[in-house]
């Protein structure tokens, strides 16, 4: 069918346009990491000085590692806990389920500034204090609702009969989950994990309240820097992160299937 062909090509073109829109600021960010002016001044003058000075900036590098570490742990923990909770909300019918679902929205709706302040007071009150542990506690909690909402959306397309059928064929609960349900919701779990990483990695407000001098994250360093000492070193470190993640992602896409293809 010729129309279908044309429509499919239009669709592909549209995806390219969308990616161009999404990556436009990223490309500018990367270009500015090679520009001499710290104020994004044009005309463009090529330099690699910002990468050289980034190499010397131990504080920024340490904060970057902290961020990556916290984001990775947050992603793993919140994806596992969140997927489990979504399964429970999907499988079982009980009183108060609607309330539990509604409770997912306060962490998203209340501005992070208030949540961060509340965490600071509370963690201080119960003796957790500030630091990387507190940041991790906070990040997982902020990421959980995203994971649960996303995985639940995928679960809603899942036919419960499939689980029942597997059960009637003698599979136990674990086998049902592992062989039937999980493969089906995998795209949702992956998407939830990607969001969790983004929420944690770009989280400024909560990290800011919970960080201590030696234990900060990259966004905290960046926001502190824009007051006075913002330099394109920050663009440089962001560019490196994006390029490395992109390579990792393309490799992942090359070797694993998770898009839910049958």
């Amino acid at each position: 069918m010729a129309t279908t062909r044309i429509l499919e090509w239009l669709g592909r073109f549209y995806i390219v346009l969308l990616l161009a829109f999404l990556y436009l600021p990223i490309i500018i960010m990367a270009l500015m990491s090679f520009n001499t002016s710290p104020f994004y001044q044009l005309p463009f003058e090529w330099t690699t000085d910002w990468y050289a000075s980034l190499w010397q900036n131990d504080q920024l590098i340490a904060a970057t590692w902290n961020s990556i570490e916290i984001a990775v742990i947050t992603t793993i923990v919140s994806t596992v806990l969140g997927s489990a909770a979504s399964l429970a909300l999907y499988r079982y019918e009980f009183r108060g389920k609607k309330l539990l679902q509604a409770l997912l929205f306060p962490p998203i709706a209340i501005p992070w500034l208030i949540t961060g302040t509340a965490m600071l007071i509370f963690f201080f009150g119960i003796g957790i204090g500030r630091g990387l542990v507190a940041i991790l506690l906070g990040h997982v909690a902020l990421a959980l609702p995203y994971v649960i909402v996303v995985v639940s959306a995928r679960l809603r397309t899942f036919a419960p009969e499939l689980e029942e059928a597997a059960r009637s064929l003698g599979a136990n609960q674990w086998q049902v989950t592992n062989r039937v349900t999980l493969p089906w919701i995998m795209p949702g779990v992956i998407a939830g994990g990607l969001f969790a990483f983004a929420v944690s990695f770009d989280q400024f407000v909560v990290s800011y309240f919970l960080s201590t001098p030696g234990q900060t994250t990259l966004p905290v360093e960046i926001y502190a820097a824009i007051r006075k000492g913002f330099t394109p070193e920050i663009n440089a470190v962001s560019t490196i992160i994006i390029v490395v993640s992109m390579a990792l992602m393309l490799l992942t896409a090359r070797f694993f299937k998770f898009g839910g293809e049958k």
């Binding site: 500018i28 306060p106 299937k257």
Partner: protein
């Protein structure tokens, strides 16, 4: 493929607990308990710090209703949230469809990942980049003037459209991915069946595809609408002098003055309004689907 059922097949809280408990326990310690402290503060005249006198009051909530500026701004923020959500649907849904139904194999997996990747960079650095694009003499201005035969002045920076562009950019991946999740689950044979029965493309889209992907649309819309209503960073930097929204005045109560009780009360009003809107909108959307 079977009918899409939203409800669970089994009854009882007890068997659900082992799966539910870890997540909700974590949320309780890190979010619900701290926020209850804030709820408590929101009914106080002053913070019980530094030996200050305090008493219980409803005054912080009353302030919202007695001063027109708060409701004006809340309305502006809700409108912003709605507009951004609609743009995300318009831009994101077709992309999700192409991703789910047109692209196949590795390229689909790769694009699935690439859509979210820009958001592994810092939000503030991204906003700075938008400033370069949108300002007078910026990239958009220069590029358009290089192509067009006549001279135009593009200066979108520090305006409402700039806020919309920045926010849509930040949130559209949520819509793409959540819609993808439900669109991909639709069996192709269902679409083909509709077509072979003589339904037009539009009819299939309207009667089959959109209803079946509704859970993804709703999830995406909620994940976009809710945080945008409370946002203040993007509006402030991209909106300039027009960038004052409800989130700004909440922030001010914490940052500029030490009035946490009022700031907390304002944010719980925001939460209540958002929850009511979600509760009203979800069934309507479900039925429409």
């Amino acid at each position: 493929m079977a009918e899409q059922l939203a409800t669970g097949s089994r009854r009882g809280l007890k068997p659900a607990l082992p799966l539910l408990l870890p997540a909700y326990l974590w949320l309780t310690v890190a979010i619900f308990l701290p926020l209850s402290a804030m709820v408590f503060f929101s009914f106080m005249t002053d913070l019980p710090l530094a030996g200050k006198e305090w008493a219980f009051t409803l005054g912080n909530y009353a302030a919202f209703f007695s001063q027109g500026i708060y409701s004006t701004l809340l309305f502006a923020s809700l409108r912003l949230g709605l507009e951004v959500t609609l743009w995300c649907v318009v831009i994101g849904y077709p992309a999700a469809y192409v991703l789910a139904k047109v692209l196949k194999g590795r390229s689909r997996e790769a694009i699935f990942l690439l859509v979210i990747l820009p958001f592994w960079s810092n939000g503030l650095v991204r906003i700075f980049s938008w400033a370069m694009v949108l300002r007078e003499g910026g990239i958009l201005d220069t590029a358009l003037n290089a192509v067009l035969p006549f001279k135009i002045n593009i200066d979108l920076m520090y305006s409402y459209p700039a806020v919309i562009i920045g926010l849509v950019h930040s949130y559209v991946p949520y819509m793409v991915l959540t819609c993808y999740l439900t669109l991909q689950a639709i069996d192709d044979s269902l679409i083909e069946a509709g077509r072979s029965l003589g339904a037009s493309r539009v009819q299939v889209l309207w009667r089959v595809i959109i209803p079946l992907s509704m859970p993804g649309l709703i999830a995406g819309a909620a994940l976009i609408f809710v945080p945008v209503v409370g946002s203040f960073m993007e509006p402030r930097i991209l909106g300039g002098r027009t960038g004052t929204f409800y989130g700004t005045i909440i922030e001010d109560q914490f940052v500029a003055v030490f009035n946490w009780p009022l700031g907390a009360a304002l944010s719980f009003i925001l939460l209540a309004v958002v929850l009511v809107i979600l509760a009203l909108a979800a069934p309507v959307l479900q039925r429409a689907g």
